[in-house]
Symmetry: C2
Subunit: 437 residues, 2 copies
Amino acid sequence: MEADIVLKNGLILTMDEGFNFHEKADLAIKDSKIIDISPQTKYKGKKTIEARGKLLMPGLINCHTHAAMAMMRGLADDMAFETWWHDFIFPIEKRLLDPDFIRVGAGLAAIEMIKSGTTTFNDMYFFEDVAAETCRQVGIRSYLGETVMSAETPDKKTPDEALKLIEEMKEKWRDDPIVHLTVAPHAPYSCDEAALKKSKQLSDRLDLPLHIHIAETAGEVEAFKATHGGSTPVEYLASTGFLSEKVIAVHCVHLSRHDIELLKKHDVKVAHCQESNMKLAVGSAPIVEIQNEGIVVGLGTDGAASNNNLDMFDEMDSAAKFHKATHADPTVMPAKTVVKMATRDGARLLGRSDLGSLAIGQTADVIIVGLNRPHLVPLYNIYSNLVYSAGGGDVDTAIINGKLIMENRKMLTVDEGEIIDRANHLAKKIEREVKHA
Amino acid sequence: MEADIVLKNGLILTMDEGFNFHEKADLAIKDSKIIDISPQTKYKGKKTIEARGKLLMPGLINCHTHAAMAMMRGLADDMAFETWWHDFIFPIEKRLLDPDFIRVGAGLAAIEMIKSGTTTFNDMYFFEDVAAETCRQVGIRSYLGETVMSAETPDKKTPDEALKLIEEMKEKWRDDPIVHLTVAPHAPYSCDEAALKKSKQLSDRLDLPLHIHIAETAGEVEAFKATHGGSTPVEYLASTGFLSEKVIAVHCVHLSRHDIELLKKHDVKVAHCQESNMKLAVGSAPIVEIQNEGIVVGLGTDGAASNNNLDMFDEMDSAAKFHKATHADPTVMPAKTVVKMATRDGARLLGRSDLGSLAIGQTADVIIVGLNRPHLVPLYNIYSNLVYSAGGGDVDTAIINGKLIMENRKMLTVDEGEIIDRANHLAKKIEREVKHA
C-alpha cells in the first residue's frame, strides 16, 4: 500500500489526549493526512525518511505574530515602549510599508519559522493579501488577519476596507488547505465601537477566529477605563457582546479577577507572548491563574521587533522559567504543559482539532527534531529536553499539510539565500530612513 | 610572514574597551596569540578560514557551572528545590559519582559548551583531576575547583583533601595553557570556619580565584543569620577576612544593601546564573543594582540539571529580558552590556585581561558565528542579534588558545559521537538507580 511519505523508526511524541509516546515507530502520510502510526508500517512511501534516533512531533503553532516585522528585528531595542513605537516602528511602517516590504518580510519570517519548527502561525499585520501569496509559496500554514484600526493604518485602509479585504481573501482562498483567514481588530483602544462590532459580525458570518490584542500595558488599561466609565477592556468587550469562543485574546497582561472570569465564561482563548512581554517590560501576564480556570492558552512570539526572533523553542523555555520565578515555585508551568501550549492548545485556540497532535486521521503537520546532539543528551524526559534544552536549530525537517517543506534544514519550496539577500537589501533602505528621521 | 591561522574577511566584534567593530577584516593567530587584526593582513596562514559574512568575536566565558552534571540534564525538573536536591541530585551523586561519571559528564559538557560558543568555563564539582584530563583532551579552557565541603562529599574528600588535590593539580598543570585551577569552597553554610579559612589561605598562597556560592536561596540566608548572630553570609565572610578581589561570588540572589556595599568594598566579582535562578525559582538577583555599584558581573549557566543546557546565548537572552521585566523598564540590561558580561567581564572575573576581547597580543580564544541565517537577518545591531536572536547552534567554529577546536560545527579534537554514546550508556545506569530509589 502506498503512502506519499513514510517516516521510519522515529521516537514519536503524539501530544494526543493520552500524551502517548512511541519509542520507535513509523509514521505514514498520504495526501494531507496521517494514515498510519505503528511499529512497522505496512505502507511504502514514495518518499521515505529515516528518523532513527530522531523525534517526530506535531509542528509548533505560533499563536501570535506580525510576520513581516522580521524586517525590523534589532532596529530599536532596549528603549522605552513609547520611544520604540513612536520613534521607530510606527514611522517606519508609515513611510515604508508596501507590498514589497510584506513580500520580503513575510518570506523571511516564514522561512525562519519553518527552520525553528513552526508549521502554523497566526498573523496580524497589513497587506495580508500579499502575505498570503508569499506564505503559500513557502508552504507554511498561515492564519492571516488584516489589521482593523480606526486610526489610519500604514496600508491606508479604513476598518471597512480591511474587513472587505478579509472577505475577499476568504473567497479567493476558499479551498486552500494552508491559507486561512482571521478577523483582526487591533485592540479595544485602537478600534471604535463600530469597528469592533463589524469585526465581530464578519467573524460570525464567515466563521473566522477573532484575533485581538487585549490589555498589553497597564497604561493602556488605565486610559481605557478613564474613557469607558471605569470598565476594563475585557468588561467592555463582554458588555458589547464581542467575546465568544472564537476570540483569540493576545497578551492579557493586565487582567482583573473579574476579567479572567469573563474570559472563562465566554470561552475566550488566550495567546501568551512571554518573551515580548519581558523585553518590552509590560508586566507579568497571569497565565497560571488563567490556565487554572481551564482557559485555553497558546504561545506566540509576537513580532521579531519585540522578541527578537520567531523561535517557539525559546518561547517555551522562557514561559516555563518566567512563571516559576514570579510565583517563587518551580513546580509551576511544567515542561509538559508548555509543550502542550505550543502544540495541542495552539490548535484548539485556532479551532483546529485536526492539528497539534499526531494520530491517524490528523492533518500531517509534522516536524523532525534531531536528538543526537550534546545539549539533548541524556534523554530522560522528552518534555524537559524540548523546553529547557532544545532550540529551533535542532529541527531538521518539516512537513506541512502532508508536503515536505524542509529536509535536513534545507528549504525545498523557496530559495532561502535569495530571500535573505532581498531582506538585506530592503534593510539598507530602512536604515537610511531611520537615519533621516 | 607566517601565521598559524588566518581568518579572512570577517566582521569583527572586538569587545575591547572602545567596543570597536570592523565591518570586514582579517585576524591572524600565531601560537596562542592574536598577532594581527587588519583589513588585509600581511600574514599567510598555515590554515586559512574564509569568514565572509560571518562574525568573529571573543569566545564566551561561562562563569559558573558544574560540568559533569550534564549527565543529570532533565532527570528531575519542575519540582521543589528540596525535592530536586534531596531526592534526586544528591542521592545520585552519592551513589554513582566516580571518575568514569566525571570523564563522561565533563566530556559531554565540554563539547556542548564549545558547540555553543563557550571557550572558557569556571567549574565547581568533584574529581576535578579527572575533569582536567578530559577538558584538556577536548581543548576547552577550564577553571577547575574541587568542591570543598565540611559534610562528606560524593568523592569522599575532607576539606583538607580537596584543597590538597587543588595544590597537586596546580603543580601538575603548572605550565598548561588551558587547564587552570580555582579554590572552591561550596558555600558559607556548607563550609565551617576552618574550611573557609584554609580555602582563603590556599587561594592567597597559589594566587587562585576563590569560587563560592553565596545567598542563592532566601531560606539559606535566613538559616545562616539564625546561627551567626544575625550576620548575613556576606557580612560573615567580610568579617572573617574572606572577601577579596579574587572571590567569585555565585548567585547573590538574596543580598542586602549592606551586602552589596561589602562586595563593592572588597572588589568581589559576581557570577550571575539567570536561567538557573528562574528555573529553581530562588528569586531575582539584584544584578542591576550590583552593576550600578561598578561591581564586575559575569554570566554562568550553572549545571545542566538546573538550566537545562550550557548555552550562553540562552543565558544572555534571559538575563537581558528578565531584568527588564522585574524592573518594569525595557532600558535596563541592554544587549551591549550583556555581551560584555559574557565576554570581557567574564575575563575580568577570572583575572584574565588577555581574554574576553579581540586585539593584537590577546590570547586567541575566538569564535565564528554564522550570520547568514533567517533569524539573524537583518543586521542592524550586532549586540541585539547576538543576545535576542542568536542561539548556540549559530556558532560555526571555535579556536581556543590559538588551536582550532571545532570547524563548521565538527569537533576536531575528540569523537563527538563516541562521547554521546558513552553518555547515553551511563544515563541508563543513572535511570536504573533512580527507579530503585
